[in-house]
Symmetry: C2
Subunit: 337 residues, 2 copies
């Protein structure tokens, strides 16, 4: 953040602020290129037919863009919660969708498994991590149709064979940078197969043709994302951060399971390493617990209104020590109660 | 920029960076509310049925959103150059458009006048300032149909009766803030009149219903825009900045007209106060002139490739002194040549 702040005052001794320079300047073109190539590098996707875009509009606009660019006859969806449902809703405006499997029957507290993916789908869309319900996909479907994945809340957090995906998108604001940029990693070969005319701003091919500079890009958000990606490379890349994320999650879930005052919300095998959802077993302890974690300096532990209880978000930027603070508060509560 | 940079490190003593805080936090909600109310205040549109949004996607996405939200039977357009043409192109995907008047016949070097606006249009769309050709609208059409204006490159630069417009949009990056936020000022009463289903992210009503927080907003760009608007209020608002903009433009155009080595591109009565386009009368002086203005520390004076020659952009942030530097270089060239 210090480096991002410095660049807002003056970018690398240029005499101009990051937010003053032209997005056509060689300085910004180089920032964009670096951010794009760091992405491919970190995901292990160099020279595999993938291209990277930094767009605007968040994952919410991707819900629509995916359908605009890929939906001809039918799009398939795995419905694992709020974000998947929104993606389905937007795609329905453009054509036929089919929910191949859903965990709505149990309040989205698990990830559906053992479903068949029809071969005639234009694509199959999944959400790899569900922030609100605290579930995460640990096994990914094998399919011959293009696999589209909303990784907004867990990209760059764990090692995966990213070449299994044909299109990955992610709002920057969880593991990558500030709000305002959306990462899209796309296998170019899946494009150009729909008959509709696509509005320019919603057309991946248009953005690809202009090197992610079809219109003025969100300069600050791209720059800060680039800094975060460089930091991640310096940390040892995804393997290193994954190890820390695993330790953080194990520490917290172990407390949830061993402390009789708490109960996890998500099915154990589908628990998210990014967002842990849990409730008190005795609601009468709520005021005491709430006062304790606030006193400990913890922010935003309340669960989403559709689930209730608590939600601890443990994105890449959160340290193991911070998780330790929460776990200590939970243990303290057990001792006091 | 210093204040924006400080906020990237820590926002107002919160212990958190601007780019770490939740967009649902009371701190950011207050930033968004302030930015929205400063906008109405500066434009003189309080209590006149207007609402303000800060969206993503730039003016380029507005080309599409205007048509999605307003185009039922036919949209009318004034074609004054590249940006208008792009707006027309996107609207054509959704329905019928009619170019009511165009200055394409003379390379967009003037603003068409004396045209009639049919009463059966869903809306009439104009571009108030044309960055590439250096023209600006100084008289606005009177019409009973909703008037939509792309003010990306001259909003907050001059006094206008803004209540004549039903929808104003502007990418932030010229007179308002960093790239990544788009201002939309809209009279709510023009909405809800099309029969199509509008994708959520492209639906003004959806964004209005959520107070411009339908999805994660571009936090940094909104904050920086708010700072710029506060700065503008402290300068005395639009009347003060207009006076400076007028002095800057008169200084430069006077040199263009009096110096025999230069010729203005745009028709005199339609000249833009934001972007002055001009050429050398003798191309052989090009290398000398280019070396001189670069030596003087001037950046980006080359005209757009579709016009050639030179273009001096004089947005709100540029000082009169900076224009003076260019004028001195032009006079020097005359003395030397």
């Amino acid at each position: 953040m210090k480096k991002a702040a410095d660049a807002v005052v003056e970018l690398d001794g240029m005499g101009l602020s990051l937010i003053e320079i032209s997005h056509r300047s060689k300085e910004f073109v180089s920032i964009m290129e670096t951010a794009r190539s760091l992405t491919l590098d970190l995901l292990g996707l160099e020279d595999k037919g993938y291209q990277v875009l930094f767009l605007q509009g968040g994952a919410s606009l991707q819900f629509l863009m995916v359908a605009y660019n890929l939906l001809e006859n039918k799009g398939g969806y795995l419905n694992t919660g709020t974000w998947s449902s929104k993606a389905i809703k937007e795609a329905n405006l453009l054509g036929q969708t089919e929910v191949i499997a859903s965990s709505e029957d149990k309040g989205f507290n698990y990830i559906p498994k053992g479903y068949d993916i029809p071969k005639d789908l234009d694509y199959f869309h999944i959400t790899s991590n569900n922030t609100i319900f605290g579930t995460q996909l640990w096994e990914f479907p094998e399919t011959s149709v293009p696999l589209v994945c909303d990784m907004s809340s867990d990209i760059f957090s764990r090692q995966l064979d990213f070449s299994k995906f044909d299109l990955i998108y992610a709002g920057a604001q969880k593991n990558m940078g500030p709000a305002g940029a959306t990462l899209v990693v796309i296998k170019e070969s899946i494009l150009g197969k729909v008959s509709r005319k696509i509005p320019s701003m919603l057309d991946y091919s248009v953005h690809l043709g202009k090197g992610s500079m079809f219109n003025t890009p969100p300069v600050f958000a791209v720059y800060t994302s680039m800094l975060t990606l460089q930091w991640l490379v310096n940390q040892g890349g995804i393997p290193s951060i994954e190890e820390i994320n695993e330790r953080k999650a194990k520490l917290l879930y172990s407390e949830i399971d061993l402390n009789p005052l708490f109960k996890g919300y998500a099915a154990k095998e589908d628990r998210s390493f990014m967002n842990a959802t849990f409730t008190l077993t005795d609601d009468k302890l709520k005021d005491t617990f709430d006062a304790m974690w606030k006193d400990a300096g913890i922010n935003g532990l309340n669960g989403h209104r559709s689930v209730g209880g608590y939600r601890a978000s443990m994105y890449n930027a959160l340290t193991l020590d911070s998780v330790g603070v929460l776990v200590d508060v939970m243990s303290d509560l057990e001792r006091k109660a």
